[in-house]
Protein backbone atom coordinates (compact mmCIF):
# COMPACT_ATOMS: atom_id res chain seq x y z
CA UNK A 1 0.00 0.00 0.00
CA UNK A 2 1.41 3.31 -0.94
CA UNK A 3 -0.33 6.41 0.16
CA UNK A 4 0.87 9.64 -1.17
CA UNK A 5 0.37 12.32 1.34
CA UNK A 6 0.80 15.85 0.26
CA UNK A 7 0.80 18.17 3.14
CA UNK A 8 1.38 21.80 3.60
CA UNK A 9 1.41 23.45 6.90
CA UNK A 10 1.02 27.09 6.45
CA UNK A 11 1.72 29.59 9.10
CA UNK A 12 -0.67 32.41 9.29
CA UNK A 13 -1.15 35.61 11.24
CA UNK A 14 1.74 36.72 9.29
CA UNK A 15 3.82 39.45 10.78
CA UNK A 16 6.66 36.96 10.70
CA UNK A 17 8.66 36.27 7.59
CA UNK A 18 6.63 37.17 4.60
CA UNK A 19 6.11 33.85 2.89
CA UNK A 20 6.86 31.44 5.59
CA UNK A 21 5.48 28.07 5.11
CA UNK A 22 6.17 25.44 7.61
CA UNK A 23 6.01 21.84 6.73
CA UNK A 24 6.78 19.22 9.25
CA UNK A 25 7.36 15.55 8.74
CA UNK A 26 4.32 13.77 10.00
CA UNK A 27 4.63 10.47 11.71
CA UNK A 28 3.54 7.78 9.36
CA UNK A 29 1.92 4.56 10.32
CA UNK A 30 3.11 1.35 8.65
CA UNK A 31 4.38 1.75 5.15
CA UNK A 32 2.37 4.74 4.16
CA UNK A 33 4.51 7.00 2.15
CA UNK A 34 4.30 10.40 3.66
CA UNK A 35 6.07 13.34 2.33
CA UNK A 36 8.39 14.90 4.72
CA UNK A 37 8.71 18.46 3.93
CA UNK A 38 10.89 21.39 4.52
CA UNK A 39 10.89 25.06 3.99
CA UNK A 40 12.47 25.97 0.77
CA UNK A 41 13.14 29.58 1.40
CA UNK A 42 16.05 31.32 -0.16
CA UNK A 43 18.66 28.90 -1.31
CA UNK A 44 21.60 30.55 -2.92
CA UNK A 45 22.71 28.05 -5.45
CA UNK A 46 23.83 29.59 -8.68
CA UNK A 47 21.98 28.70 -11.81
CA UNK A 48 24.05 26.01 -13.40
CA UNK A 49 22.83 26.35 -16.92
CA UNK A 50 23.01 29.99 -17.74
CA UNK A 51 23.86 29.62 -21.36
CA UNK A 52 22.35 32.12 -23.68
CA UNK A 53 22.88 30.78 -27.16
CA UNK A 54 21.61 27.66 -28.90
CA UNK A 55 18.49 29.22 -30.28
CA UNK A 56 17.21 27.61 -33.39
CA UNK A 57 15.41 30.06 -35.55
CA UNK A 58 11.81 29.19 -35.90
CA UNK A 59 9.51 29.78 -38.79
CA UNK A 60 6.34 30.05 -36.87
CA UNK A 61 6.23 32.16 -33.78
CA UNK A 62 3.11 31.89 -31.72
CA UNK A 63 0.89 34.81 -31.17
CA UNK A 64 0.97 35.65 -27.44
CA UNK A 65 -2.79 35.12 -27.37
CA UNK A 66 -2.41 31.47 -28.27
CA UNK A 67 0.33 30.98 -25.74
CA UNK A 68 -1.64 32.70 -23.03
CA UNK A 69 -5.04 31.16 -23.48
CA UNK A 70 -4.21 27.76 -24.85
CA UNK A 71 -0.76 26.69 -23.77
CA UNK A 72 0.18 28.29 -20.46
CA UNK A 73 -3.08 27.08 -18.99
CA UNK A 74 -2.04 23.50 -19.68
CA UNK A 75 1.43 23.58 -18.20
CA UNK A 76 2.55 22.13 -14.92
CA UNK A 77 4.46 24.22 -12.39
CA UNK A 78 8.04 23.53 -13.51
CA UNK A 79 7.18 24.05 -17.18
CA UNK A 80 5.39 27.30 -16.42
CA UNK A 81 8.53 28.37 -14.57
CA UNK A 82 10.64 27.54 -17.63
CA UNK A 83 8.26 29.56 -19.80
CA UNK A 84 8.64 32.51 -17.45
CA UNK A 85 12.41 32.51 -18.01
CA UNK A 86 12.22 32.61 -21.81
CA UNK A 87 11.36 36.26 -22.43
CA UNK A 88 9.99 39.29 -20.64
CA UNK A 89 6.65 39.04 -22.36
CA UNK A 90 6.25 35.40 -21.42
CA UNK A 91 7.40 36.20 -17.94
CA UNK A 92 4.57 38.69 -17.61
CA UNK A 93 2.05 36.21 -18.98
CA UNK A 94 3.32 33.40 -16.77
CA UNK A 95 3.07 35.46 -13.63
CA UNK A 96 -0.70 35.53 -13.72
CA UNK A 97 -1.78 34.32 -10.29
CA UNK A 98 -4.76 32.47 -11.79
CA UNK A 99 -2.43 30.09 -13.60
CA UNK A 100 -0.57 29.28 -10.40
CA UNK A 101 -3.74 29.05 -8.40
CA UNK A 102 -5.05 26.50 -10.86
CA UNK A 103 -1.88 24.46 -10.59
CA UNK A 104 -1.84 24.68 -6.79
CA UNK A 105 -5.43 23.62 -6.30
CA UNK A 106 -5.04 20.78 -8.76
CA UNK A 107 -2.03 19.55 -6.77
CA UNK A 108 -3.40 20.25 -3.31
CA UNK A 109 -7.18 20.40 -3.47
CA UNK A 110 -7.30 21.13 0.26
CA UNK A 111 -6.07 24.68 -0.27
CA UNK A 112 -9.32 25.50 -2.00
CA UNK A 113 -10.47 27.07 1.21
CA UNK A 114 -11.29 30.68 1.92
CA UNK A 115 -8.99 30.97 4.89
CA UNK A 116 -6.05 29.42 3.06
CA UNK A 117 -6.63 31.65 0.04
CA UNK A 118 -6.47 34.68 2.26
CA UNK A 119 -3.15 33.58 3.70
CA UNK A 120 -1.72 32.76 0.29
CA UNK A 121 -2.76 36.11 -1.10
CA UNK A 122 -0.44 37.77 1.42
CA UNK A 123 2.60 35.91 0.06
CA UNK A 124 4.89 38.06 -2.12
CA UNK A 125 3.90 36.28 -5.32
CA UNK A 126 0.68 34.67 -4.14
CA UNK A 127 0.13 31.16 -5.37
CA UNK A 128 3.44 31.17 -7.20
CA UNK A 129 5.25 31.58 -3.89
CA UNK A 130 3.12 28.89 -2.36
CA UNK A 131 3.90 26.49 -5.16
CA UNK A 132 7.62 27.12 -5.25
CA UNK A 133 7.89 26.77 -1.48
CA UNK A 134 5.86 23.60 -1.44
CA UNK A 135 7.18 22.02 -4.60
CA UNK A 136 10.11 20.14 -3.02
CA UNK A 137 7.50 18.29 -0.97
CA UNK A 138 6.15 16.65 -4.10
CA UNK A 139 9.37 14.91 -4.94
CA UNK A 140 9.80 12.05 -2.54
CA UNK A 141 13.17 11.08 -3.90
CA UNK A 142 14.75 14.36 -3.11
CA UNK A 143 16.16 14.65 0.37
CA UNK A 144 15.15 17.70 2.27
CA UNK A 145 17.81 20.31 2.01
CA UNK A 146 16.96 22.07 5.17
CA UNK A 147 15.30 20.93 8.28
CA UNK A 148 12.85 23.21 9.90
CA UNK A 149 13.54 24.82 13.15
CA UNK A 150 10.03 25.05 14.45
CA UNK A 151 11.00 27.17 17.42
CA UNK A 152 12.15 30.03 15.26
CA UNK A 153 8.71 30.57 13.85
CA UNK A 154 6.64 32.77 15.98
CA UNK A 155 3.27 32.22 14.45
CA UNK A 156 0.10 32.25 16.38
CA UNK A 157 -1.58 29.65 14.28
CA UNK A 158 -0.88 26.78 11.97
CA UNK A 159 -3.00 25.80 9.03
CA UNK A 160 -2.48 22.25 7.87
CA UNK A 161 -3.56 21.34 4.40
CA UNK A 162 -3.42 17.63 3.79
CA UNK A 163 -4.34 15.68 0.70
CA UNK A 164 -3.95 11.95 0.68
CA UNK A 165 -3.86 10.05 -2.55
CA UNK A 166 -4.09 6.35 -3.04
CA UNK A 167 -3.18 5.13 -6.52
CA UNK A 168 -3.49 8.68 -7.83
CA UNK A 169 -7.01 8.99 -6.52
CA UNK A 170 -7.69 11.60 -3.91
CA UNK A 171 -9.11 9.94 -0.83
CA UNK A 172 -8.81 12.62 1.78
CA UNK A 173 -8.56 16.35 1.54
CA UNK A 174 -8.65 18.36 4.73
CA UNK A 175 -7.71 21.69 6.16
CA UNK A 176 -7.18 22.15 9.87
CA UNK A 177 -6.37 25.22 11.87
CA UNK A 178 -4.37 24.87 15.05
CA UNK A 179 -3.58 27.62 17.50
CA UNK A 180 -0.02 27.62 18.73
CA UNK A 181 -0.03 29.91 21.72
CA UNK A 182 -1.73 28.14 24.55
CA UNK A 183 0.12 26.03 27.05
CA UNK A 184 -1.70 22.98 25.76
CA UNK A 185 -0.07 23.32 22.36
CA UNK A 186 3.32 24.39 23.61
CA UNK A 187 3.64 21.53 26.09
CA UNK A 188 2.33 18.69 23.95
CA UNK A 189 4.09 16.72 21.25
CA UNK A 190 3.21 18.10 17.85
CA UNK A 191 0.05 16.54 16.67
CA UNK A 192 -2.77 17.52 14.35
CA UNK A 193 -5.94 15.48 14.24
CA UNK A 194 -7.35 15.49 10.77
CA UNK A 195 -10.38 13.44 11.55
CA UNK A 196 -12.78 13.87 14.39
CA UNK A 197 -12.95 10.88 16.72
CA UNK A 198 -16.13 9.52 15.17
CA UNK A 199 -15.34 10.44 11.61
CA UNK A 200 -14.46 7.59 9.33
CA UNK A 201 -12.23 7.47 6.34
CA UNK A 202 -14.43 7.09 3.35
CA UNK A 203 -13.15 5.56 0.24
CA UNK A 204 -14.53 6.96 -2.96
Amino acid sequence: MAFDCRCNLTTSKLPIKSSTKLCCPLSSPSDNKMSSCSTSSSTTKTADHASSGATTTTISAFHPDIIQTHILTRLDGPTLAAAACTSSQLQALSSDDKLWQEICTATWPSINDLRVSQVISTFPAGHRSFFSDSFPVLDHRRPSKQSVNCYSLLSTELISCVDIYYKDALILSKTRETETETGWFLCSPFRVDLLDPKESFRRR
Binding site: T46, S52, S60, H70, P78, T79, A82, S87
Partner: protein
Protein backbone atom coordinates in the same frame (compact mmCIF):
# COMPACT_ATOMS: atom_id res chain seq x y z
CA UNK B 1 -16.70 3.23 -49.71
CA UNK B 2 -15.23 6.48 -48.65
CA UNK B 3 -11.53 6.91 -48.88
CA UNK B 4 -9.49 5.64 -45.98
CA UNK B 5 -9.01 7.82 -42.96
CA UNK B 6 -5.31 8.16 -43.28
CA UNK B 7 -5.29 9.37 -46.83
CA UNK B 8 -5.38 13.09 -47.14
CA UNK B 9 -5.67 13.24 -50.87
CA UNK B 10 -7.25 16.47 -51.69
CA UNK B 11 -8.01 17.27 -55.25
CA UNK B 12 -9.34 13.90 -56.37
CA UNK B 13 -12.59 15.13 -57.78
CA UNK B 14 -13.02 11.99 -59.86
CA UNK B 15 -14.12 9.71 -57.03
CA UNK B 16 -16.83 12.02 -55.74
CA UNK B 17 -20.36 10.84 -56.13
CA UNK B 18 -23.02 13.44 -55.56
CA UNK B 19 -21.34 14.76 -52.47
CA UNK B 20 -21.10 18.52 -52.29
CA UNK B 21 -17.57 19.84 -52.25
CA UNK B 22 -16.18 23.11 -51.05
CA UNK B 23 -13.08 24.64 -52.60
CA UNK B 24 -10.48 26.09 -50.30
CA UNK B 25 -7.37 27.82 -51.52
CA UNK B 26 -4.24 27.85 -49.38
CA UNK B 27 -1.60 30.57 -49.09
CA UNK B 28 0.58 28.92 -51.73
CA UNK B 29 -2.24 28.73 -54.20
CA UNK B 30 -3.28 25.10 -53.99
CA UNK B 31 -7.01 24.46 -54.18
CA UNK B 32 -8.44 21.72 -51.99
CA UNK B 33 -11.84 20.30 -52.79
CA UNK B 34 -13.23 19.29 -49.47
CA UNK B 35 -16.36 17.32 -48.65
CA UNK B 36 -18.90 19.69 -47.16
CA UNK B 37 -19.28 18.10 -43.70
CA UNK B 38 -15.50 18.09 -43.33
CA UNK B 39 -15.12 21.69 -44.47
CA UNK B 40 -17.87 22.79 -42.09
CA UNK B 41 -15.73 21.74 -39.15
CA UNK B 42 -13.66 24.78 -40.04
CA UNK B 43 -15.66 27.48 -38.31
CA UNK B 44 -14.23 30.17 -40.55
CA UNK B 45 -15.56 28.30 -43.59
CA UNK B 46 -18.90 27.58 -42.00
CA UNK B 47 -19.51 31.23 -41.17
CA UNK B 48 -18.25 32.37 -44.56
CA UNK B 49 -20.84 30.21 -46.28
CA UNK B 50 -23.54 30.98 -43.75
CA UNK B 51 -23.05 34.73 -43.96
CA UNK B 52 -22.65 35.11 -47.70
CA UNK B 53 -25.82 34.46 -49.63
CA UNK B 54 -24.20 34.94 -53.01
CA UNK B 55 -21.56 32.24 -52.77
CA UNK B 56 -22.04 29.26 -55.00
CA UNK B 57 -20.53 25.85 -55.27
CA UNK B 58 -17.99 27.34 -57.60
CA UNK B 59 -16.78 29.84 -55.05
CA UNK B 60 -13.20 29.25 -54.05
CA UNK B 61 -12.61 30.45 -50.54
CA UNK B 62 -9.11 31.85 -50.02
CA UNK B 63 -7.32 30.97 -46.79
CA UNK B 64 -4.24 33.18 -46.93
CA UNK B 65 -2.94 32.18 -43.50
CA UNK B 66 -2.85 28.44 -44.10
CA UNK B 67 -0.08 26.67 -45.95
CA UNK B 68 -0.64 23.60 -48.07
CA UNK B 69 1.30 21.45 -45.63
CA UNK B 70 -0.79 22.61 -42.69
CA UNK B 71 -3.97 22.11 -44.71
CA UNK B 72 -3.09 18.48 -45.36
CA UNK B 73 -2.69 17.94 -41.63
CA UNK B 74 -5.88 19.80 -40.78
CA UNK B 75 -7.94 17.86 -43.30
CA UNK B 76 -6.53 14.53 -42.19
CA UNK B 77 -7.76 15.24 -38.69
CA UNK B 78 -11.15 16.60 -39.74
CA UNK B 79 -11.78 13.74 -42.18
CA UNK B 80 -10.97 11.18 -39.51
CA UNK B 81 -13.36 12.82 -37.09
CA UNK B 82 -16.07 13.07 -39.71
CA UNK B 83 -15.59 9.37 -40.32
CA UNK B 84 -15.91 8.58 -36.61
CA UNK B 85 -19.03 10.71 -36.43
CA UNK B 86 -20.57 9.03 -39.43
CA UNK B 87 -19.97 5.56 -38.09
CA UNK B 88 -21.03 6.29 -34.54
CA UNK B 89 -23.19 9.41 -34.46
CA UNK B 90 -24.19 8.94 -30.83
CA UNK B 91 -20.83 8.58 -29.15
CA UNK B 92 -17.37 8.68 -30.64
CA UNK B 93 -15.40 5.42 -30.31
CA UNK B 94 -13.11 6.81 -27.66
CA UNK B 95 -10.33 4.31 -27.87
CA UNK B 96 -10.16 4.51 -31.62
CA UNK B 97 -10.12 8.29 -31.50
CA UNK B 98 -7.30 8.22 -28.98
CA UNK B 99 -5.31 5.75 -31.05
CA UNK B 100 -5.79 7.85 -34.16
CA UNK B 101 -4.79 11.05 -32.40
CA UNK B 102 -1.69 9.50 -30.85
CA UNK B 103 -0.48 8.21 -34.20
CA UNK B 104 -1.46 11.44 -35.87
CA UNK B 105 0.78 13.68 -33.76
CA UNK B 106 3.63 11.21 -33.43
CA UNK B 107 4.52 11.89 -37.02
CA UNK B 108 4.57 15.66 -36.62
CA UNK B 109 7.70 17.61 -35.86
CA UNK B 110 7.56 20.56 -33.49
CA UNK B 111 7.57 22.94 -36.44
CA UNK B 112 4.70 21.11 -38.11
CA UNK B 113 2.80 21.04 -34.85
CA UNK B 114 3.23 24.77 -34.39
CA UNK B 115 2.21 25.53 -37.92
CA UNK B 116 -0.93 23.48 -37.43
CA UNK B 117 -1.74 25.21 -34.16
CA UNK B 118 -1.57 28.56 -35.94
CA UNK B 119 -3.74 27.20 -38.74
CA UNK B 120 -6.27 25.61 -36.38
CA UNK B 121 -6.48 28.90 -34.50
CA UNK B 122 -7.04 30.88 -37.70
CA UNK B 123 -9.54 28.38 -39.08
CA UNK B 124 -11.23 28.33 -35.69
CA UNK B 125 -11.44 24.58 -35.14
CA UNK B 126 -11.67 24.55 -31.39
CA UNK B 127 -11.52 20.78 -30.97
CA UNK B 128 -8.34 20.48 -32.98
CA UNK B 129 -6.83 23.57 -31.36
CA UNK B 130 -7.48 22.13 -27.88
CA UNK B 131 -5.99 18.84 -28.90
CA UNK B 132 -2.87 20.31 -30.51
CA UNK B 133 -2.14 22.79 -27.75
CA UNK B 134 -2.43 19.93 -25.27
CA UNK B 135 0.17 18.07 -27.30
CA UNK B 136 2.36 21.17 -27.39
CA UNK B 137 2.16 21.49 -23.61
CA UNK B 138 3.23 17.86 -23.26
CA UNK B 139 6.17 18.39 -25.59
CA UNK B 140 7.69 21.15 -23.50
CA UNK B 141 7.01 19.48 -20.19
CA UNK B 142 10.16 19.03 -18.14
CA UNK B 143 12.33 20.71 -20.76
CA UNK B 144 15.02 23.32 -20.37
CA UNK B 145 14.42 27.05 -20.72
CA UNK B 146 16.33 27.03 -24.03
CA UNK B 147 14.08 24.31 -25.40
CA UNK B 148 10.92 26.11 -24.36
CA UNK B 149 12.23 29.38 -25.77
CA UNK B 150 12.98 27.77 -29.11
CA UNK B 151 9.63 26.04 -29.10
CA UNK B 152 7.71 29.25 -28.56
CA UNK B 153 9.96 31.04 -31.02
CA UNK B 154 10.54 33.96 -28.67
CA UNK B 155 13.56 36.18 -28.37
CA UNK B 156 15.52 36.24 -25.13
CA UNK B 157 15.31 39.91 -24.22
CA UNK B 158 16.63 39.62 -20.67
CA UNK B 159 19.93 41.03 -19.58
CA UNK B 160 22.25 38.33 -18.25
CA UNK B 161 21.60 39.57 -14.72
CA UNK B 162 17.85 39.50 -15.17
CA UNK B 163 17.97 36.00 -16.50
CA UNK B 164 20.26 34.81 -13.74
CA UNK B 165 17.91 36.29 -11.16
CA UNK B 166 14.92 34.64 -12.71
CA UNK B 167 16.62 31.30 -12.86
CA UNK B 168 17.53 31.66 -9.25
CA UNK B 169 13.96 32.48 -8.37
CA UNK B 170 12.75 29.42 -10.23
CA UNK B 171 15.65 27.24 -9.27
CA UNK B 172 13.32 24.65 -7.76
CA UNK B 173 11.89 23.97 -11.19
CA UNK B 174 15.08 23.13 -13.01
CA UNK B 175 16.38 20.10 -11.25
CA UNK B 176 16.30 17.08 -13.44
CA UNK B 177 14.97 18.55 -16.66
CA UNK B 178 15.14 16.29 -19.69
CA UNK B 179 17.83 16.46 -22.31
CA UNK B 180 16.78 18.63 -25.23
Amino acid sequence: MSSSIASSSSSSSSSSKKEKKISLKTSDGEVFEVEEPVAMQLEIVRSFFADNEDVTEQTVMPLPNVSTAAMHGILEYCRAHEEFRRRMPEAAPEEEVRAFEAGYVDRKSNEELKEMILAANYLNISKLLDFLTGVAAKRIENKSVEYVRAFFGVENDFTPEEEANLRREYEWAFEGVDED
